[in-house]
Amino acid sequence: MRKAVAGSPVGPFEIPVPAGARYARPVDLGLSPCVRNSTSAATHSAEGGGVLLSGDTRRGDHPASFENAACVPLRVAIRRWMRGHHGREATTEGPIGRARGAAIVTAEGGAALAGSRREDHSLVAVLSGAWNLERPAPHFASWMETALAAAPAEAGSVEGVAIDVSALETWDSSLLIFLQQGQEYCEAHHLAFETGDVPSRITSLLALARVVPEHPVAPDASRPSRIARLGLAGLASWDASQAAITFTGEVAQRGVQLLRGRVRMRWREFWVVVQSNSSGALPIVTLIALLVGVIIAFLGVVVLKRFGAGYYVSYLVGYGMLREMGALMTGIIMAGRTGAGFAAELGSMKITEEIDALSTLGISPVEHLVLPRVLGLFATMPLLVVYADLVGIVGGMGVAVALLDLTPTQFMHGMLYAVELSDTLLGVFKGTIYGAIIGMAGCLKGLQTGSDAGAVGRSATSAVVIGITLIILANAMIDWLAALLLI
């Protein structure tokens, strides 16, 4: 044993470890950083079967003793260590912490060991020491190998394995694992496995672990071939498009029924959606539309100035915002904000069986949940687009006035000369379509949510991805039609 370092401000602890004990790694007491450094350094210096642990447990100026709260981590750590090693705190020398002191911890338990002896035709596994999950324990197959190699050849063939636990000190799951391995090994090698001397509280657990599961377990299907995967993906996308078309049809049908007064609309929910998508969305729409207007104007200033046509920047801002960017940017914002929100909300309702509860009452989830949401978005999108157009134009005008020799009046005059009402209406029309797309993509994905927590996240993600993809697709198609119709 090492001597406590007299006069030093650290409290050393000595933990003698029985000879022959092997540790896979230095003992880590898991102390707080302030004591860990000195402790872990000392644990390496295990000599002659002893380990010296030392650590400064002082905290502030409080006189710390072993019972002081400041020492709790140390005390807990030592207890935990001892639990693992079946040690016993014997003595402390003086108060620990502020002054000097030492605690001596005697380890009673040896390492988990499995020896062997021969009895007639069977090998006996002599288990001793403390079997603890956190310490390396023998593996049955390697024990068997060693035991067979050590057995004298003239003793004859081995017909069984017996377990001797008379020298066993303490045990936990690590012993069960060893015995379970033994049982399986002996079964595989047609050997008898004797657990006659093992206490019943151990064997009853072994028996419990061997209970056959109630359902035969089919192993997870192996990965299908490449062609099969292609086919499965094709079938899945066919199903998805069919579901999307059915859903769109159902929403449209309910919409028509609503106009005919055959559907009871939940107006309260409708107005909640209208509120959250109008005034609630204004700040973000303002920010994005203003910046988009500014960006278009910068583009115009830089490019048009080269041709001496800086004045026409007002045309670019006007056309750009009204026909394309106002609606597109608002659509993208709403897909990220509201589409994802719808998917997550309905997805959570699916998981908590709220949607099933509606269906069993004969209430269509489309009528009750989807219609107010889609219509709410459908109604607010045109308003938001008009607002985004205005803000964008103001942003563009700011840049034009600042960078070109233009007054606001000149800018507005130039823009109104070129832009027609049909440009604004085209943008508003696009926005309305986008609103329907976002609302339906969000609600559909929400209703299609799976049953685990991750499914809600996946639904929200795919609602946004599908929403934005469809918006851009719709934008291209509407522009194409507009070009054909010369709008």
Binding site: E67, P73, V217
Partner: protein, 263 residues
């Protein structure tokens, strides 16, 4: 040794869990007040009471999820509430909790669920962890389900898998929140068997929150009754004893499933 040796407090002398003067509150609402009890080592201790009596809230206090409004909770004689992060972690290492719905992590397979506490708290290598995981899943009758995700198995199996996770570290104290809720009678009784087997074999101290009478009579060594009207504990003892000699009406009504008082 140079100076006189003083004995150090012997570990495990204090009860594994002791509650002194505990008051639980949600905001200004007092859920329960003046709770005083100690759980003995190796016993099955049941906290019973009607719905809304604060059983689950008490459990959350015992496992440190909620701080006591007043009073202290001592784990192995140490104040759990006042412990710092290190000491807390050391305590959490020694307890296991089975939540009401299982609370398996849905993104992990059963094997990964059971392995997580082992990788978090021990230095075992992958092979050893896999051995432990297989043993624990086999103990709860889920051998062969290692690669399944929680969504793919039934509610009863999920609960047993959660038990495998709770006993992964061979805890000294095991907490159960309504173990039989949502289970059919056979599965519930199977879970009771498991609780008793774990207690008998590992000597684990078990704290169960329950209002399932069949299960309470079967497994409890002692039971604590939380009285929703008085907002405090009104009985503590062997449940059969409490049924035969009820200290008050509420206990009698609860333990006999009757709506009338003692005649």
């Amino acid at each position: 040794m140079t100076t006189a040796a003083t004995a150090v407090e012997v570990p495990n002398a204090a009860p594994p869990l002791e509650v002194r003067g505990l008051t639980m509150r949600y905001g200004a609402t007092v859920v329960m007040r003046d709770l005083n009890f100690a759980v003995n080592r190796g016993e099955v201790f049941v906290v019973m009471g009607g719905s809304g009596s604060g059983k689950s809230t008490l459990l959350k206090h015992l496992i440190g999820l909620l701080p006591p409004a007043e009073g202290t909770i001592l784990v192995d004689g140490e104040d759990f509430g006042a412990a710092d992060a290190e000491a807390r972690k050391a305590v959490l290492r020694r307890i296991g909790v089975l939540y009401q719905g299982g609370a398996l992590w849905s993104g992990l397979t059963l094997a990964e669920n059971v392995a997580l506490p082992l990788t978090e708290f021990t230095t075992l290598d992958a092979g050893a962890i896999s051995d432990v995981v297989q043993l624990k899943l086999a103990l709860v009758g889920l051998r062969g389900f290692e690669a399944f995700y929680p969504a793919a198995i039934s509610g009863g199996m999920r609960k047993r898998a959660a038990l495998a996770r709770a006993i992964a570290l061979d805890p000294e104290v095991l907490f159960f929140d309504e173990p039989s809720s949502g289970l059919d009678p056979v599965s519930a009784s199977r879970l009771d068997d498991l609780i008793l087997a774990v207690q008998a074999s590992f000597g684990t101290t078990i704290v169960v929150v329950s209002h399932d009478l069949a299960s309470i009579y079967r497994i409890a060594d002692r039971a604590l009754f939380l009285d929703i009207e008085q907002k405090t504990m009104s009985a503590l003892g062997d449940p059969a004893e409490l049924r035969d000699h009820p200290p008050n009406d509420a206990v009698h009504r609860f333990l006999t499933r009757s709506s009338e008082g003692v005649t």
